[in-house]
């Protein structure tokens, strides 16, 4: 006996593994979160303890001091980590592209390594480096500038830069690889022609390289905005899941998690998640619009 699948069902069957997994791990949580955003729920009382509360959770989230505090932290960290990532990654990519020929893979690999390193290992390593009395960072700063020891983890002013340094260090390699890939698509003829016309290195960079990698800049910046606004792992592990002194390193994603699992407010956390989705969507749209306008002008 042979079993044949009707040909019109075959495509559905073949994509079904993805669809099933997506439905279970993607769609269901998404819809459940949307449902939860309108419920008051004490989770330890069981699923039947849910009560419909309309927009109460959204009102609570928008009037919650900690939401605004965590949003300010998130935006600070997104700018402090996102902007330098691109400002460093672009010239570094150009330098590696021009200077190292076939060896550039080795160097870009070295820069990429932090991206694939375990976050826990990174947090432990930097936890030791930023130790107040026994950490290398303070020792180095003291040796170079004679500064007093900085309490990186317990000072609200110091903890944000500490997190930003780690995030920058971790993701600059990822952007570097993006830009290296983009640089390889720019025809060398353009540079040769520019040289013949007397263009210097700076003019070549400004007139050929930057316009050539603009689509990748849009892609990289969009990823940085989304990643920056969803920042969770590094500050979470570095601050023991609390956000540090005065919650100065508590991002919205962290607060959202804590609201649900530390403070048992799944409804408020879900509402916050959807508010955050709105903010990220808006910023992504604005980024696209900003880049698109310039392309039209060009």
């Amino acid at each position: 006996m042979s079993f044949r699948i009707p040909s019109r069902w075959a495509p559905y069957l073949l994509v079904s593994p993805f669809l099933i997994l997506f439905a279970v791990f993607g769609l269901f949580p998404l819809l459940f979160s949307a449902w939860l955003a309108f419920q008051s729920w004490e989770p330890t009382s069981g699923i039947e303890a849910m009560q419909f509360v309309g927009f109460d959770n959204f009102v609570f989230a928008l009037t919650d001091g900690w939401f605004w505090k965590s949003l300010r932290n998130t935006l600070w960290l997104a700018v402090a980590t996102g902007v330098p990532q691109h400002l460093v990654a672009i010239p570094l990519a150009v330098f590696l592209h021009r200077s190292f020929g076939r060896w550039r893979g080795l160097f870009s690999g070295a820069y990429f390594l932090p991206y694939i390193t375990s976050t826990v290992a990174i947090a432990m390593l930097f936890g030791s480096l930023f130790s107040t009395d026994y950490g290398l960072v303070n020792q180095a700063l003291h040796a170079m500038f004679g500064t007093d020891n900085i309490n990186w983890m317990r000072s609200p002013d110091a903890i944000k830069p500490a997190v930003a340094i780690i995030v920058f260090w971790r993701y600059v390699g990822f952007n570097l690889v993006l830009y290296l890939a983009a640089l390889q698509t720019i025809p060398n003829d353009l540079y040769q022609a520019a040289k013949l016309d007397g263009a210097g290195a700076w003019q070549q960079f400004l007139r050929i390289t930057l316009p050539g990698i603009k689509p990748m800049i849009l892609f990289g910046v969009t990823l940085s905005i989304i990643g920056g606004l969803q920042l969770f792992e590094e500050p979470f592990i570095l601050t023991n899941g609390k956000g540090g002194a005065d919650q100065a390193a508590m991002t919205v994603a962290m607060y959202l998690y804590r609201l649900a699992f530390d403070f048992s407010d799944f409804g408020g956390a879900s509402a916050l998640a959807w508010i955050m989705f709105g903010i990220i969507a808006l910023l992504t749209w604005l980024t696209n619009k900003a880049f698109a306008d310039k392309q039209v002008q060009r």
């Binding site: 008051s40 729920w41 004490e42 989770p43 330890t44 009382s45 069981g46 699923i47 303890a49 609570f60 009037t63 919650d64 001091g65 900690w66 936890g127 030791s128 130790s131 107040t132 009395d133 026994y134 309490n151 983890m153 317990r154 000072s155 609200p156 002013d157 899941g241 609390k242 002194a245 005065d246 919650q247 699992f261 530390d262 403070f263 048992s264 407010d265 799944f266 408020g268």
Partner: protein
């Protein structure tokens, strides 16, 4: 054995099989070997969910339990501390994969007991009320829900005491009474200690603020919210705690290191911290791994102004939606975990889990000297403290309130925010969330 033999007998000749089939047969055989005997036994499985150290105690008990109850299998599922409580929240919320017995740490008890996910142990089916006089009063009273019913049984507690370096005190020309007379004298002694020995008085001022706030809480009331649901964060005890904390920071008497962090451990090892306020279990932690080299240099005293409180503790509870047919067994197990005098003593000896059970506290072990504390009879002191600890009601938002107040303390200490304003802001945040 039976299943393993049959697995091999049914396996065809490897020569005649394609490699893929051979692999499938091997995996199938392995699964049968692994799960076969268990599936065949079909004994009810009693599950205890616990976190480190409590899991060791539970496992020890289950060894004997299995012999006394051959008709039941029992297992302990262990997760890291935070993961365990998160997993239990998830399990209770979905009523899926619920263990039969849940271990809960005190700081999570408020959150779990104020919902309706835990079984009412005061109900006639369990009759826990008849055992309430067997425990130190605060421990059992803390385990009541909003309706006053017991939803958990206490196992161990952490009577708080002041650990101090006797050598540093002598060097500074101070004695124990200088530290314990009052909170003000504790701070004054700290200034002298710092001046003469260079050692910090305490790891972080938060510890000082916490204990002053707790010690000033009227018995039977909540630490942050009173029994009428009114937030108490602007009350005098918070003002006093913040003012003293500010004084300590201004004089540079706290090392600004968090408990369990590397710097904190290093400072304890090097004798740079002169005192530590913690539960009695800290003696074991210091002796075993934090600062074993400082053995003999530490002593303990009751906290200043005879403040009595508990640092941590463990409770056992039964989920309301767990398998009904195993609830009585789970209750029996909880009784053994919490009311067996000898087992409580064993756990105290091996894991520094101070027993909440009064009967265990009369053992001669309590009269023996503690070598790490220079031979001091410290267990008597902890026993005395344990019996005097007042009941403090837990609020659902306890953890949040605690953090909000810590954040405002940071604002006072780091940015010079006025104390009344800081406390008002903290109160506003707590009130905003109090009924969620």
């Amino acid at each position: 054995m039976h299943n393993r033999e049959s697995a091999f007998k049914t396996m065809p000749d490897p020569e005649s099989l394609p490699r893929r089939h051979l692999l499938a047969a091997a995996v199938g055989g392995a699964l049968q070997v692994t799960y076969g005997p268990a599936l065949a036994a079909e004994k009810p499985l009693l599950t205890v969910a616990a976190f480190p150290l409590v899991d060791v105690i539970a496992k020890d008990l289950l060894k004997g339990w299995s012999q006394r109850h051959p008709e039941v299998r029992a297992q302990v599922i262990s997760r890291q501390y935070d993961d365990h409580h998160t997993a239990m929240t998830t399990a209770l919320s979905t009523s899926g994969h619920l263990p039969d017995v849940i271990a809960l740490e005190t700081s999570y008890l408020g959150r779990f007991s104020l919902g309706s996910g835990l079984e009412d142990l005061s109900a006639p089916a369990f009759g826990a009320e008849r055992f309430k006089d067997r425990f130190v009063p605060f421990a059992i009273e803390t385990a009541r829900n909003r309706q006053g019913a017991l939803v958990a049984m206490p196992s161990d507690i952490g009577p708080g005491s002041l650990f101090y370096r006797v050598d540093l005190l002598a060097q500074a020309g101070l004695n124990e009474a200088d530290l314990t007379r009052s909170w003000e004298s504790y701070v004054e002694a700290g200034a002298q200690l710092k001046a003469r020995t260079g050692a910090y008085l305490i790891g972080d001022v938060r510890l000082l603020k916490d204990i002053i706030v707790r010690a000033g809480t009227p018995p039977g009331e909540g630490q942050f919210v009173d029994n009428q649901g009114r937030a108490q964060i602007t009350s005098a005890r918070f003002v006093r705690a913040f003012e003293l904390a500010k004084k300590v920071r201004q004089q540079g008497l706290d090392a600004r290191v968090e408990v369990w962090q590397n710097d904190w451990a290093e400072m304890l090892k090097r004798g740079r911290l002169a005192t530590e306020m913690s539960g009695c279990w800290m003696a074991g932690q210091m002796a075993n791994w934090v600062a074993p080299g400082t053995a003999g240099k530490w002593r303990v005293a009751q906290l200043p102004e005879n403040a009595y409180c508990s640092y941590g503790g463990t409770y056992y509870a039964i989920p309301r939606r767990s398998a009904p047919e195993r609830k009585q067994l789970a209750w029996q197990l909880i009784q053994e975990l919490t009311m067996d005098r000898q087992r409580q003593l064993d756990a105290f000896r091996s894991q520094d889990a101070f027993p909440a059970l009064l009967a265990s506290q009369d053992d001669t072990f309590f009269d023996q000297p503690v070598p790490f504390l220079g031979g001091q009879h410290a267990r008597q002191l902890w026993r005395d403290a344990a019996r005097r600890i007042p009941v403090v009601k837990m609020h659902k938002q306890h953890k949040f309130a605690d953090e909000v107040i810590n954040a405002e303390l940071d604002n006072v200490l780091e940015y010079g925010k006025a104390i009344p304003k800081a406390l008002e802001d903290a109160q506003a945040l707590v009130v905003h969330r109090a009924n969620r």
